[in-house]
Amino acid sequence: MLDLLKPSFLEFQEFFYLAGRALKNLFRKPHYWDDVLLQMDVIGVGSLPIVSLIGAFSGIVMALQMSRAVAQYGASSQTGTFVAIVLVRELGPVLTALLVAGRNASGIASEIGSMKVTEQIDAMRALGTDPTQKLVTPRMLALAVVLPLLTIIADFVGLCGGFLIGKFRLNISAAQYWNSAQQALVWNDVAQGLLKPFLFSFVISLVGCFYGMRTTGGTQGVGRSTTEAVVVSSVWVFILDVFITQIFVNM
């Protein structure tokens, strides 16, 4: 486990080389839009049920927890405020990113990894395509679009979950809940709530592709890459989260 996290300089260098190439390809032909759409479907539509479910539960649990804490100060009516702030700033982006990392960093790494060990990546190069352009860039683009959208959905479903608790357990009216939620959110929260998933998306897609592309050693190697992709992308989501939060807190 610790071995997996031990960052080696060479690995970093290779990772940023891949990231640089994937970004550069955005401005170079050919563009594989079909693959972008396919990946948006696989990652975005595919993750929708689980992301909504977890979003709803986190809203519910948070409202329950908050209700006790705030009740001590007689501020039950402010439940919407707390749920909105915590969800939009922090829990929505991070939970969604972790779910998508578990679901899709692994999926990307295993798909590309099995292509690597069966020489399909070499075949792509032999037959006239750049695998970075054909495989990495579409996944990166698709995730950059889809992860913020998924986060918005998780936030919204979470707020709805919080509302159910507010209404049926705390007797807060709909108007009161949604008003306090709306007023709680300022530009800063929304910006950080969208910037986070946007940046996380690059970590997830590129780490998944990176470990896929460097897979060696047959089927076993694919398993190893998959695990590494999930662990490393999850850890980096948290590290990045700390940095971004730090910046916004100071603003």
Binding site: T118, R125, A126, L127, G128, D130
Partner: protein, 274 residues
């Protein structure tokens, strides 16, 4: 030592090519020259460097030292993007076929036509070319299948179709018969010989089976009869076949069949027996 100035008709020239993976030596000072229309058979046990040799030839792996010249162009210093034009002149069958398993057979075979920067034919003709290439390997009925639905031998045939759909002047077949039963293996070799003899493709065959080399060296595809027939006299001379035996990345034998069969070296003669 091949003479670098004699690149007139040479298709592939290796000059002191070496390749290492850490401590492992994959290729060690490999030199040879392949001319147009020739057939070369590379033999050697597993791990002797045959696959890496093919990949260096295709420009997929950059050697640590030495020069590789393909169709008169030095490729060892070329960037990835400049390689695509050269690669489009080479068809390659990968060891395990390496078909794209997310695509249908038709999409697989159409891939080089659609993706290589060199335009082989118009959009409208792609389908016809694909069917023609699949008919060549007698698989035109599998267009809509996916690779996992095919047997190992059929996948190899699709791999041959994909490698040759662009009618490349040079074809590399990496272990086309590995893991196949003898009948299927001979079947595959017949398609390779057919491609060579009907299309005039310079052919490189990598194998651990000496029979594959013998077949390439002594038979030719007769169009009238629609099958392989034993070559005799002038025909035999025309089938210009060279054998290479590799061991631990080094060439330990290079010459015609008669010399290979006469070799007394225990390792080399292992590959010179039917």
């Amino acid at each position: 030592m091949p003479d670098p100035s004699a690149t007139h008709d040479s298709v592939v020239v290796f000059e002191d090519v070496s390749l290492h993976f850490g401590e492992t030596v994959a290729l060690d000072q490999v030199s040879f020259r392949i001319d147009r229309g020739q057939t070369w058979v590379f033999l050697g046990e597993a791990g002797s460097g045959k696959t890496q040799l093919c990949k260096v030839m295709m420009g997929l792996v950059r050697p640590d030292s030495g020069r590789v010249t393909i169709f008169g162009e030095e490729i060892t210093s070329k960037g990835e993007r400049d390689m695509f034009a050269i690669r489009s002149k080479i068809g390659m069958l990968f060891q395990e076929s390496a078909l794209f398993d997310s695509m249908t057979i038709e999409e697989n075979v159409a891939y080089p036509l659609e993706n290589q920067p060199v335009r082989h034919c118009g959009r409208e003709q792609i389908h016809d070319r694909v069917v023609e290439a699949l008919r060549f390997v007698e698989l035109e009925k599998t267009l809509d299948k996916v690779p996992s639905e095919l047997s190992g031998g059929m996948r190899r045939r699709v791999g041959i179709a994909r490698a040759t759909v662009t009618a490349p002047p040079l074809a590399i077949y990496d272990s086309p018969t590995a893991g196949l039963d003898p009948i299927t293996a001979n079947n595959i070799m017949a398609f390779i010989a057919k491609q060579r003899d009907l299309k005039g493709t310079t052919s490189i065959i990598v194998s651990h089976r000496y029979q594959d080399g013998v077949l390439m060296a002594n038979y030719y595809y007769d169009e009238a009869q629609g099958r392989l027939v034993a070559a005799t006299g002038d025909r035999l001379a025309a089938v210009d076949t060279t054998f290479v035996v590799m061991r631990d990345g080094r060439i330990v034998f290079l010459g015609p069949q008669t010399e290979l069969e006469a070799s007394t070296d225990p390792y080399v003669s292992k590959f010179g027996r039917r």
